[in-house]
Symmetry: C2
Subunit: 268 residues, 2 copies
């Protein structure tokens, strides 16, 4: 049973999310179908994070065990050729048989992108939350964001009606910045007339997240950016553990699952 | 009759191109419909360049004259609210009554984007030509590209069967580079695991272009990048004035109309 750690990028537009569901097309479902065809039997794909409908991934990670012996490059090519262009396996690594993408993850990084220009960039329309006005106070948002770092009870930033064992989570970093220097790359597409800082990026890394946690945090930070609340209010919301006191849940298309971190030993 | 110079960005995916046609949705058609509704009579929109189906624009320019007095900011808002999100007027400037977006243009800049990584970036799929292998020789392509600068007869790079008065055109610059530094912007979207130089950018500026000229040049430069031909061959193709000797026409989705330049006096 060769086991692989797959790194997957996908444009979440049009999918019901990562997780296979009774109706609609899911990323997990398409991956399981492609891998099952390849392995000649049903293959389970375990993702590190269950992204919601419309949420994107630059580096989702999944664990998968196959019956058939196959080298990782052949696997990547064979699976990619069976997937729509909106989903690509960007890396496949050999992993220990016990590797579990979700349980073994030590840290998960998300980024959330806000377009704060009056006129929307047509090339960004599926990848940002458009907040046309006012000009958001990025410094105030950045100051508020750091209040969330550390181990806290994040019940105030959890989707209503969710039932989890504990709402305590550890956040390693929580940062707001103008522009995007999250992932430096020479492969950045051309931008139309971008006037800095139309794009505002929020990046959060943590050991685990509650359902809708990142989007609820962003909705709350934007209240501060609009000048409706001072930065310290975000700390008060956190301590209240009351979802009704926080800001609205920011829309899905601005959210990207950026990367997962694992202990070296897991992946051979 | 107030006259405006409109700067327009659009994602060309799904359109039949700039120009209004008997069937299908065109950018010009949508703009004329929106402006006609606003002005209460049929309004003609004259674009600087007729982009083909699937070709994008970061800074297409159009001239338009209205009957109704309207300030440029109100015009932008009113028209954008009547357009799909894939098309945005990003600037509206007052222009002289005689302003003509096409005839008055002194220079036009296009860029063409090639994704030269084995695995395609799902976020780039509508904005590049995917050449998965071999690794293209960017230096050879760059050397070949500069041979096209100057005033030449570009008949070898014209769409077959096109009838124009003259096939002589002046190219101010013709450059290939790894990565994209064409438009620097803090608003660059995050990229997945981009390994430099997956993206190769071709930029060409000139006084005018023949039909499919940029895409025929790119198809020819890629032959050099693949190592099938030496850089000097591109000069031979140019001098031959024979379309059949050049490379294939590169696909539309990699092409962007970047900007237009005008004499200052035209725009008030």
């Amino acid at each position: 049973m060769p086991t692989f750690k797959l790194t997957i990028a996908y444009d979440g537009t049009g999918f019901v999310g990562w997780q296979r569901q009774a109706a609609g097309t899911s990323v997990q479902g398409l991956l399981e179908d492609a891998l099952s065809e390849l392995d000649g039997r049903h293959v389970d794909v375990t993702g590190a994070g269950r992204t919601d409908a419309g949420v994107h991934a630059l580096g989702q990670v999944a664990s998968v065990s196959l019956k058939r012996a196959i080298d990782r490059r052949t696997l990547m090519r064979a699976v990619n050729s069976r997937l729509p262009e909106s989903i690509r396996i960007v890396d496949a690594a050999d992993a220990a048989p016990s590797f579990h993408a979700r349980f073994d993850a030590r840290s998960k990084t998300y980024c959330y992108r806000i377009w704060n220009g009056e006129v929307m960039n047509p090339f960004e329309r599926a990848y940002v939350w458009h907040v046309p006005s006012p000009v958001l106070d990025v410094a105030a948002m950045a100051s508020a964001a750091t209040l969330l770092e550390g181990r806290h009870d994040f019940a105030a930033f959890q989707a209503a009606g969710t039932d989890t064992r504990t709402t305590e989570r550890e956040v390693f970093s929580s940062r707001v910045r103008a522009g995007s220097d999250l992932v430096q790359s020479p492969g950045d597409p051309p931008q139309f007339h971008a006037k800095a800082p139309d794009l505002i990026t929020y990046e959060i890394a943590g050991a685990g997240f509650l359902r809708h946690m990142v989007r609820a945090i962003v909705g709350t930070l934007v209240e501060v950016g609009r000048g409706r609340r001072p930065p310290a209010w975000v700390g008060e919301v956190l301590r209240s553990r009351d979802r009704s006191g926080a800001g609205p849940t920011a829309p899905a298309p601005g959210l990207f699952l950026v990367s997962l971190e694992y202990r070296e030993a897991i992946v051979s």
